[in-house]
Symmetry: C2
Subunit: 216 residues, 2 copies
Amino acid sequence: MREAFHDELDSIFIDLAGIARKVQHAVARATEALMTGDVHIAEEVISGDEAIDLAREAVEEKSFELLSLQQPVAGDLRTVVAALRMVAELERMGDLSVHVAKIARLRVPSVAVPAQAEPTIRRMATVAEMMTAKTAEIIENRDVEAAADLAQDDDEMDRLRRNSLRELLSADWTHGVEPAVDLALLGRYYERIADHAVSVARRVVFVVTGETTIDA
Amino acid sequence: MREAFHDELDSIFIDLAGIARKVQHAVARATEALMTGDVHIAEEVISGDEAIDLAREAVEEKSFELLSLQQPVAGDLRTVVAALRMVAELERMGDLSVHVAKIARLRVPSVAVPAQAEPTIRRMATVAEMMTAKTAEIIENRDVEAAADLAQDDDEMDRLRRNSLRELLSADWTHGVEPAVDLALLGRYYERIADHAVSVARRVVFVVTGETTIDA
């Protein structure tokens, strides 16, 4: 019984890592659509979100089955509930990639990001994608050490977001309101992807160590 | 045993409704801070968020205890897990109110919202607060009918958000980049509060009827 439980749980964590990989791909492709103004890539991210939603539902069903059939208590119970929360956050990261792709699509055949703002937004996108990749690895390897790194990446993201806002609110900004609004929202989306990555990683730490200092 | 389970569950739902009321208050006060530029009200919302976080933790603990001690299956299990999800969304609605209050605080002693944009933002705030109030009632009364109304309110919110973006991107916009960026983000925060209200209400419908058409 216990062994069946842990096999099932492992299978759920493999699914979670797989969803994180799908999200990483969505973040990367949404950013590509954004930087190139390629409507096909944007559409691919938008329609591809359904696969993430379906994968989420599958994990939810597996988790409920596990709870119902195995009736775990204590740490095992908390691990299954943590998995349910992780899958909800991963799905949300997918939604946020769709939001990025939709801003890209809105500006086709132009590009939403003016050249002046490109380095900051590109770095935010890279950090968001990297954090999503790390999250997949952390889930795969139950890697508590790597989870600690994510907090530093998130600090960089917060700095980038502040820089981006400062840039578009400065007197030197010559691109007008529309790109500024796009960038403010894009910054928010990438920042939220990063927040969710940190949160998912914290849940893995909690699952492995049973310890949580903050909202895990 | 079954009776004890349902008493505990009722107590969790009473707690959830109480948190929804706290969030409703936070939305209303954050909006007041925004419209008046009153830094004390903004600070009150920001520091008041801790009470919502603590109330969330208490509901989580109660829910885990209930799962551990009573080992519910089928519908009862799904109801407890739904409660865990609802409390996470309610807490997030509180965080979004804090984001509104922080924009208000950032612009003190000015007011972030130009007179031209006030009617739309005020209506968004009213709809968000009303939806939060309805969510509290829906949780209190397990009111499936009322939950259907929320979808209509959410449609209004989406229209308001589109109008707001159209307004600040139009040629008539004379207030420059900063208020436009503030309004784009404020619109996003109110819209997300509304989304979460709809989602919490759907979970109540699911708990009562066992049916879910969409992501509940």
